[in-house]
């Protein structure tokens, strides 16, 4: 009898679903305990007039209706989309390219990789904001270089069409975390695959196409999703460098959310904006996930 209970308990403990819940437990606790309530509050605030100081009052879907007529909102959405579309692919290609190059075996690889990683260590600090403004200022280094090849100086932060470019370049420049994730992914591809390919007489390009890309595809998917999300959330670059100007040409979505929440004391409106963003991004992530079934190759199979 006792043995039966014991073995039943054992069976329970070692059952796959039990193990699953045990390992997922930290997430479940964290989500229920510390994440869910703030998320629900922000959803609630999005239906209220809330200025952070006085108690909020329910106003139904008013905030969402206001969004429809807010030109600054539409512009920020457009600007952010353009920024995401331009910065994410360039950043990922660059990161992958550098990660590939730096798998070459030389004693200097570690040093080189450090060199390329350093920019990602200074993030959105004031020092970077300063140097970036300096580089792209009217008499800055970039314009001087353009001058050498006889291109007229560009007013980077004064021209509505150009102002996004320094911000995109800054994002691409800080490609370090994507790079090391790619590097780690490359390391995971078994060397035997390449040796086999070599024996089969495949050249380097074919090896890249048929071994590297498929082997790396889960990591590519990961970087694509995370970089898309974080590009949508971009705040620091615009906050420290352009403050959204000129004429809202770099007024990123998250920056406009921040302004509404903390500068304009309109937390209800900011919350509504955030939930619209959640809807948009869910859609985009869903599309990427669905498409990934066709191009992501998993060793673990499914």
């Amino acid at each position: 009898m006792k043995g039966n209970v014991k073995s039943a308990a054992r069976k329970f403990i070692y059952r796959e679903s039990t193990v699953g819940y045990v390992f997922a437990l930290p997430f479940i606790i964290g989500f229920l305990g510390f994440t869910l309530i703030p998320i629900v509050s922000s959803l609630y605030y999005s239906f209220t007039d809330y200025n952070l100081i006085q108690k909020e009052s329910w106003i139904g879907a008013n905030n969402y209706m206001r969004l429809l007529h807010d030109e600054r909102f539409w512009k920020s959405l457009k600007v952010t989309l353009r920024y995401v579309l331009l910065s994410v692919p360039s950043k990922l290609c660059f990161a992958l390219f550098v990660a590939m190059i730096l798998t070459r075996t030389t004693k200097l690889t570690g040093f080189y990789r450090s060199l390329f990683y350093v920019p990602s260590l200074i993030g959105g600090s004031i020092a970077v904001a300063l140097v970036w403004k300096e580089l792209f200022s009217r008499k800055g280094l970039i314009n001087q270089i353009l001058g050498i090849v006889d291109i007229k100086a560009v007013s980077w932060f004064g021209d509505q069409k150009m102002a996004l470019i320094p911000l995109i370049l800054m994002t691409v420049w800080q490609f370090g975390s994507s790079m090391i994730i790619f590097a780690a992914g490359l390391k995971q591809i078994p060397g035997t695959y390449y040796e086999a390919a070599k024996i089969d007489g495949a050249n380097r390009f074919r090896a890249f196409l048929h071994i590297t890309l498929p082997g790396l595809s889960p990591v590519i998917l990961y970087n694509l999703i995370m970089q898309t999300i974080s590009a949508f959330m971009s705040f620091t670059q615009a906050f420290v460098i352009t403050q959204g100007g000129p004429n809202d040409a770099t007024n990123f979505y998250a920056l406009y959310v921040y302004d509404n929440a903390f500068e304009y004391y309109d937390m209800g409106y900011a919350s509504a904006m955030s939930w619209v963003m959640l809807a948009i991004m869910s859609l985009i992530t869903l599309v990427i996930f669905k498409s990934s079934k066709h191009w992501v190759f998993s060793e673990a199979g499914n």
Binding site: L52, R138, F157, Q243, P246, N247, D248, E263, D266
Partner: protein, 443 residues
């Protein structure tokens, strides 16, 4: 296996680091405690120490000076322990908002012109003035009014200032332009900008605070009885949007002609030291009177202060004296009387203010300004004289307050000016659109 070893090593390093860090902290605090224990021994008969929390934003000099005054007070009042926090201005307000949301606002906290937003969190000081805890005998009603709202004394100004135009007399002379007088007009300003730009190939003027120049002053300059914001703070104080058109048009024209920096060049101004007047690329700039000192020092050449240009030379000046910031006592404070007592010391004590040295703006207390006089530099004297000059101008009933939606309105004004510069609107349409936006913010 290797991973484990790396991880273990990593964790070990961190534990050691955090342990040593904790240790050093412990010794720090124990030193503090032993330092304080003398005080506690003395006061143990009066019961427990009263802890007051205080916060402000500002520069390193401000932190050091304020802390020195706090320590001075604590020495004199052994039953008071003041815990302080300081931040940069952006961080300060983020922090303040979280504290507001959880009813834990600091007992004494610094606020600027945006104080109406936080009204429900502030204990008015009228009772403490009436009971004499705060001594206002050395100041005037005009000064006290800069921090009143609906008849209540919300706080007391830490220093007052006003806006003006700093200029380089040598550059004016070189370009053959007469120096501005007290009654100069926006037309004079625009002409000076253009002439200087043509003659010296520099900007006539560096960045102006467009909202103050065009709106808060601009409206009062049109009619001495008008204010941009209604005196009741629940709407706008004027109903004719065309009063805004001229300034916007002038700004667009000056940018177009190159006499005023374009939005790109403006964004390159990082701080006072990057101002085009300081760098020698402009002959004028907008300045708050208390910043004139830093501006002159940064420029390293003689600068002078002029009043804000008027709409007509015999019309109202529109300029007003305002509080640069103040300290308030919060509703969450358990010991408001003790807080008021400390603040009284902070505002009116002569020794304390010798340390503070007017870093927050010109004191509104005459006994304080008197003791500060001997240590003033010539620029500080000029700045204080300027405040007194502007204070002597005839004014209507001025609204010194920025009601809650002020930031959204000011940002929108900047945006409209840019849109006019980029040719999306005419100045007239811009003024109209801005007026309607500002009005809608109060609905």
């Amino acid at each position: 296996m290797k991973v484990k070893r790396v991880l273990v090593l990593f964790l070990a390093i961190l534990t050691i680091l955090s342990l040593t860090a904790c240790k050093s902290k412990e010794t720090d605090t124990s030193a503090d405690q032993s330092g304080n224990s003398n005080n506690t021994a003395e006061t143990s008969s009066d019961g427990e120490k009263i802890v007051l929390r205080m916060a402000w934003w500002g520069s390193q000099a401000r932190h050091d000076k304020t802390i020195e005054v706090i320590e001075m007070y604590e020495k004199q009042h052994s039953n008071i322990d003041i815990e302080y926090e300081f931040y940069d201005s952006d961080g300060y307000f983020t922090k303040l908002n979280t504290l507001v949301a959880s009813d834990k606002v600091w007992d004494m906290f610094q606020l600027g012109g945006n104080f109406p937003v936080y009204l429900s969190k502030i204990v008015p000081l009228d009772d403490y003035i009436a009971s004499g805890v705060i001594d206002t005998s050395n100041t005037t009603d005009t000064f006290l009014k800069t921090t009143q709202y609906e008849g209540k004394q919300i706080g007391i100004s830490n220093g007052v200032n006003t806006y003006g135009v700093a200029y380089d007399p040598a550059m004016f002379k070189e370009a053959g332009v007469a120096e501005p007088d007290q009654n100069w007009t926006w037309d004079d300003y625009a002409k000076a900008c253009n002439t200087i730009h043509e003659k010296l190939k520099i900007y006539g003027s560096s960045k102006f605070d467009d909202f103050v120049a065009g709106c808060s002053c601009g409206i009062s300059q049109s009619d001495i009885n008008l204010n941009f914001y209604a005196l009741t703070n629940d709407g706008l104080g004027f109903d004719d949007y065309s009063l805004l058109t001229d300034y916007i048009q002038m700004r667009a024209d000056l940018t177009e002609s190159g006499a005023y920096p374009d939005p790109g060049a403006i964004s390159e101004i990082k701080d006072i030291e990057g101002d085009y007047l300081v760098t020698g690329e402009a002959a004028m700039t907008w300045v708050a009177s208390n910043q004139f000192i830093a501006l002159s020092q940064a420029a390293g050449r003689e600068l002078k202060l002029a009043t804000i240009p008027r709409k007509t030379s015999d019309g109202p000046a529109g300029a007003a004296i305002q509080s640069s910031q103040m300290f308030c006592v919060s509703k969450d404070c358990e010991y408001p009387e003790e807080a008021a007592e400390f603040l009284n010391f902070f505002w009116t004590d002569e020794e304390a203010n010798k340390i503070l040295a007017g870093e927050r703006g010109m004191s509104i207390f005459s006994n304080v300004t008197e003791v500060q006089v001997p240590d003033l530099s010539s620029e500080e004297v000029a700045a204080n004289d300027f405040v007194n000059l502007v204070g002597s101008f005839e004014v209507g009933e001025i609204n010194p307050v920025s009601p809650e939606p002020y930031q959204a309105i000011e940002d929108y004004y900047d945006l409209i000016i840019q849109k006019v510069i980029y040719g999306e609107f005419t100045a007239e349409d811009g003024a109209k659109g801005f007026y309607e936006f500002a009005k809608s913010q109060f609905e």
